[in-house]
């Protein structure tokens, strides 16, 4: 029966509801205490006291994407390792060898990305 799953979901739902509601309520509750003096200059973006020299909506260098890309692949691999990790103790040498082959594949992807220079910050 899925009793445990259901009560887990209910608990987490309640937990999340409380954690989301409290800051929102606080924000609203202190609204009347907060001063409001809107000014044109105050609403300018901060750039060390200068007028904004360039807008932050421009193509940006791709090094960030390289890392994100390698990240997501490794994340999936890590999660698969999490899936088998709890039973590895009773899986014997065979299980260890199977997981070892997988870890070798992970290492190979890391090696490839390294060789291709995807892990260099520029």
């Amino acid at each position: 029966m899925s009793g445990a799953y259901l009560s887990d979901v209910l608990f987490l739902l309640g937990f999340a509801l409380a954690v989301v509601t409290i800051p929102l309520v606080t924000l609203a509750a202190f609204g009347w205490l907060r001063p409001r003096y809107p000014e044109v200059l105050k609403a300018e973006a901060y750039e060390s006291g200068m007028p904004q020299a360039s807008i932050p909506r421009r193509p940006f260098h791709m090094a960030y994407y390289n890392f994100a890309l390698v990240f997501i692949v490794f994340e999936v691999e890590t999660l698969l390792l999490f899936a088998v990790a709890p039973i590895l103790r009773d899986a014997g040498w065979l299980g260890l060898a199977e997981v070892g082959a997988f870890v070798a594949l992970v290492a190979l992807s890391l090696f490839y990305a390294w060789r291709k220079g995807a892990l260099v910050w520029r």
């Binding site: 193509p59 791709m62 994407y65 890309l69 997501i72 692949v73 994340e75 999936v76 698969l80």
Partner: protein, 100 residues
């Protein structure tokens, strides 16, 4: 529960199809494809509970599907960025090299 899951999955799949057919931005296309992918995964998980729950076939395939979705997003977005740098836009209709 199963009927509810199957219904939900069909609705989500249709929404994904709608997105793929109507959106023109490449990133939006990927968003729609992910919605369709998830619709399929919901079915896998729902049926995993019905047939041979101990064998976990459905959930293993769902895990597989999530892995594939990750690969797809990584490669898809790499393509989007490559197209963007070549054509200066992520709108799929601007990719018209063949028109010369």
């Amino acid at each position: 529960m199963t009927t509810a899951a199957v219904t939900l999955s069909s609705v989500l799949f249709a929404i994904g199809v709608f997105g793929v057919l109507t959106r023109r931005n490449a990133i939006s296309l990927l968003v729609s494809v992910e919605i369709m992918m998830n619709a399929a995964i919901i079915n896998l998980v729902a049926f995993s509970r019905l047939y041979e729950p101990e064998a976990m076939t459905g959930q293993v395939f769902a895990l597989f599907g999530i892995g594939i979705a990750a690969c797809e997003a990584a490669i898809g977005l790499a393509l989007v960025l490559a197209v963007y740098r070549r054509f200066g836009s992520t709108d799929v209709d601007t990719i018209d090299l063949l028109k010369g």
